[in-house]
Assembly symmetry: C2
Homo-oligomer: 229 residues x 2
């Protein structure tokens, strides 16, 4: 079947920059391309938007099909429309960025797909198409958001220690943070619920576990709070 | 001539939310539609992306063609892709937002087009398509950006008084601001160059004119400044 139009139309795709955090490194999920162009090279998961689905739905579907990911934080990032960004024909791509709790068993299993792999954000492999630019745009957005919005909790397990939280911030921002200042700031917002549980990592002494209190955050935002870390 | 594809493709458009400030009100530029659907109703300026132009170029072209605007601040906003957002067929639209110095004679003349008109943001007319949602998204983005980035200066004349600056902030944020606090904050950033000129508005006494020092702002940002008003 063929579709005919009086004017040329670009094809429309979605591409997803998926970030995960494994207690030490910020990582990005990449797919090894099985077809030309750029066959055998790494690229962001993504694909064509179908006739009857929204852009968000297309991004969700591609994440599930290509990486087995469901129910992750997903947000539209930017639309990339350089005329020659794909060597085959004109393709405009709506980029998304996604945040995944790598610590969850379910999402860890999803990366078992032979052609999907997590790479440290600090050392990504060469990427196909204009995916380096999409990746950098997503990284900048994540860094910006982390400081002003509580998106970091999307990358941590439900229960986490303050050290894990600080390691996440350090990994994303790419800089060391003063432990005392960080804890004071974090606890000052009164947005973490201290749990009756501890976590022991390696040979260090057990550390208290916390949970992010999202409903409390929403109430504080409504009352004019400015979150900043 | 016809273009044939094996899969259905949405048409691709750009739509622009253009804000201006006239010393009292924040305004938005709208176009009266001359064709169906929504003929005779108001809509955002925009149109189809051409085969050989980037998305940014399409937005710039539409602003010039439909509103005579050139050289304005323009930034991609969000891409709207609901399946039924246009009654004719599927059209995905990349939305932009633009900021215009209404005080400049050049841009004021541009609005002489019979079908283009500036409306107060507080009282827009009913809008065609999903343009109400696009407009609200742009307004939220402008409000957010105004506090953290010096985009407000894109809406003011090159030389402005502190009262004009405060009126702009009040108009965009939709709230009154304390004059002393506002001036203290603004001048505290040391980003305004005081000029040897004054401006007299109405019967009030002449007020000093200032200019935004962008090169100084860029240097301060590089050195880690966080602008916040």
């Amino acid at each position: 079947m063929a579709f005919r139009y009086t004017h040329a139309r670009p094809a429309l795709t979605v591409d997803c920059v998926v970030f995960g955090f494994d207690d030490a490194d910020l990582k990005v999920l990449l797919i090894e391309r099985g077809i030309k162009p750029f066959k055998g090279e790494w690229a962001l998961p993504g694909g064509f938007v179908q006739e009857d689905e929204t852009l968000d739905a297309a991004a969700k579907r591609e994440l599930e099909e290509e990486a087995g990911l469901r129910g992750v934080f997903l947000e539209q990032l930017y639309t990339f429309g350089a005329v020659d960004r794909d060597p085959r024909e004109r393709i405009v791509s709506v980029a998304y960025f996604a945040l995944v709790k790598l610590a969850d068993h379910a999402t860890r299993a999803a990366t078992d797909a032979a052609d999907a792999q997590w790479f440290p954000v600090a050392k990504p492999p060469p990427l196909a198409f204009d995916h380096p630019a999409i990746f950098q745009t997503a990284l900048a957005r994540l860094r910006g958001k982390l400081r002003w919005q509580p998106v970091g909790f999307e990358l941590l397990p439900e229960k986490f220690t303050l050290s894990q939280l600080q390691q996440l911030y350090e990994a994303v921002l790419g800089t060391g943070l003063d432990k005392r200042n960080f804890r004071k700031k974090v606890l000052g917002f009164d947005l973490l619920t201290a749990l009756d549980e501890t976590r022991q990592a390696g040979r260090s002494r057990p550390a208290q576990l916390f949970r992010f209190n999202r409903s409390r955050y929403n109430r504080l935002v409504e009352s004019g709070l400015h979150f900043e870390l």
